[in-house]
């Protein structure tokens, strides 16, 4: 999945950005494979895979890029698949009939992520004409991230 994302991004990127995007994507895919064994690498894997897309944005500078929905959904599914792979690796077996719960959930997460990002993109597109709106959304999101990290640290 991570490798597919890298190839897809390299195909849609410009000639200047494609090598960088592909290199970062491949490294991200390798790190994802390693994260199945060492889960501490999962952040690095997702970050490197996502940085390929950031490089694409930085080099090609497209207007509002709708492909972010696909990237977000792919990264979400990759993260969930790593978690599922680790569960399958353990000695615990699911009771009969319970094997489909996790893949169904992963599919739901992917589809939900796709819809959420599309919805947010639509809002951003509306506010794009107002430069301050982007700043406000970014600041709010950064604040939300800080709050989440603080809550995690307390928990």
């Amino acid at each position: 999945m991570a490798l597919g994302l890298a190839v897809w991004l390299a195909l849609v990127a410009s000639d200047d950005a494609a090598p960088v995007v592909l290199a970062l994507g491949v490294v991200g895919a390798l790190l994802t494979a390693a994260a199945v064994v060492w889960p501490a690498l999962l952040f690095l894997a997702l970050a490197v895979a996502g940085s390929g897309y950031a490089a694409l944005l930085a080099i090609d500078e497209p207007p509002l890029d709708v492909r972010v929905a696909g990237v977000a959904a792919c990264l979400l599914v990759v993260g969930e698949l790593v978690g599922w792979a680790r569960e399958l690796w353990s000695t615990t077996r699911d009771e009969p009939g319970g094997e489909w719960r996790r893949p169904t959930w992963i599919a739901l997460v992917g589809a939900g992520g796709l819809l959420l990002v599309w919805g947010l993109l639509a809002i951003v597109d509306l506010a794009r004409v107002e430069g301050l709106a982007v700043e406000a959304v970014g600041a709010a999101c950064a604040l939300a991230a800080l709050l989440v990290v603080r809550r995690l640290a307390r928990g």
């Binding site: 997702l46 944005l57 977000a72 951003v124 970014g138 939300a144």
Partner: protein
């Protein structure tokens, strides 16, 4: 229950934070949008409260014999819904799973109670406790999990399967009480011993009328009385040689259980001395209760490492009655045991050594110096066995290929030809 985070929680939170910051730095709203689903998952995932869970374990028996299969039921109940609950019954060494899934992941709705049947196999003798259940619960998002341990331990004793013995060892001396062993002394009994001239006081029913007719004077029969013997099982628990799942001590305990069963069935009084880091003893006694006492004591005995010097003097005197047949089960690896056995022989006990051979546990090496060392070690052990034999002590080797019956036959063969060495 202990709360812990899945690796994805930290990864998603950090990724969301990095993406938001990068979005600000690059002035690209797409990256902030990309981070949003991760941040949402984290925000929803950390809200999971600790699920109220209860668990019970039921086992159909508390006593079993090696090879038996037991039914166990693990029951779990959740007052609130748990999307995935991993349930694992901790199985002690020697108890395996014959049928069922352990650990297993289940889904529980609110208020649901689930019974998980398991079939356990008693793979080897043990004195264990079964009933520790490990629980790991997570919600649908699965970023946070709760782990806990429910302690419903119950004792489970798995007795070793005794080997069938056709013949046991005859003791050098019997005791005063009635048993199944033909005594060497003469008295009232069933087995014919000899004839002798009649003396006043002899019973008329003892008169051998045929011999009387031939000799012309009254001759009476003498008989061997049926007596029992005192037998002490001397179990060396100072040291053992072992591979991953087998060792000399397991073998020794199995042989000891066989001997205990055999001697008690012969109506002998049997006692136990577990001579090791921790000294355990049981005075000689007979009957079914004594059999369970002895086997329970054997199951509770383990190899305890100790530097403390111990000799025969630490053993209570009543545990080693005079004239008792002492059957030592030892790998002959610890000098303290060797000296204690020599001491016992010196004190006049009828001693038999069943050497539980550590040789099968020696890892073969291609290194020439290792091979020489192994040969030297084997020579030392052969010399040790000869030392015992010079003292009139029969030494037989027990290993995986030798049954207790075969080892006892070796002892009997030695004792037939070494009577002069006895005291």
């Amino acid at each position: 229950m202990t709360r812990s985070a899945d690796a994805r929680l930290g990864a998603y939170a950090a990724l969301a934070a990095v993406a938001f910051v990068t979005a600000l730095g690059l002035r690209r709203p797409e990256l902030a949008v990309l981070a949003a689903p991760f941040a949402l998952l984290v925000a929803l995932g950390v809200r999971m409260p600790a699920p109220p869970l209860r668990a019970w374990v039921e086992i159909d028996r508390e006593r079993a014999i090696e090879g038996d299969e037991l039914d166990a039921i693990v029951t779990v109940r959740a007052d609130s819904a748990v999307d995935r609950l991993e349930v694992g019954l901790a199985l002690p060494e020697g108890i395996g799973l014959a049928d069922g899934s352990n650990p297993v992941a289940i889904h529980l709705d609110a208020g649901e109670e689930r019974e998980l049947p398991l079939r356990l196999r008693c793979e080897r003798w043990t004195s264990a406790e079964v009933g520790v259940v490990w629980l790991r619960a997570r919600d649908r998002i699965g970023l946070v999990r709760f782990e806990g341990r429910v302690d419903r331990r119950r004792p489970l004793r798995v007795y070793p399967t005794p080997e069938r013995l056709r013949r046991l060892l005859a003791p050098a001396r019997t005791q005063a009480t009635t048993g199944s062993e033909v005594a060497r002394v003469r008295g009232e009994g069933l087995e014919f011993a000899d004839t002798r001239p009649f003396v006043p006081g002899d019973r008329v029913r003892s008169v051998n009328w045929r011999a009387t007719a031939r000799r012309g004077s009254l001759v009476v029969n003498e008989r061997h009385p049926d007596r029992n013997a005192d037998v002490v099982i001397f179990l060396d628990s100072f040291a053992e040689a072992r591979a991953s799942d087998q060792g000399t001590f397991e073998h020794a305990v199995r042989a000891a259980a066989t001997l205990v069963t055999g001697f008690l069935e012969r109506r002998d009084r049997v006692g136990l001395v577990a001579f090791g880091g921790i000294l355990r003893w049981l005075q000689p006694g007979g009957g079914l209760v004594q059999r369970y006492r002895l086997v329970d004591a054997l199951l509770e005995t383990g190899v305890e490492f100790s530097y403390a010097w111990k000799d025969v003097n630490v053993i209570p005197a009543r545990t080693l009655p005079p004239g008792a047949l002492v059957v030592a089960l030892t790998p002959l690896l610890d000098e303290r045991t060797v000296l204690a056995l020599v001491d016992l022989r010196g004190r006049g006990h009828d001693l038999v050594v069943l050497e539980v051979s550590p040789d099968p546990y020696v890892v073969p090496s291609s290194d020439p110096s290792d091979r020489v060392a192994t040969r030297l070690w084997r020579l030392q052990r052969a010399e040790l066995r000869m030392r015992f034999e010079r003292l009139g002590v029969a030494v037989a080797t027990l290993d995986e290929d030798t049954t207790v019956e075969a080892a006892l036959e070796g002892v009997r063969a030695y004792r037939r030809h070494a009577r002069l060495a006895r005291r």
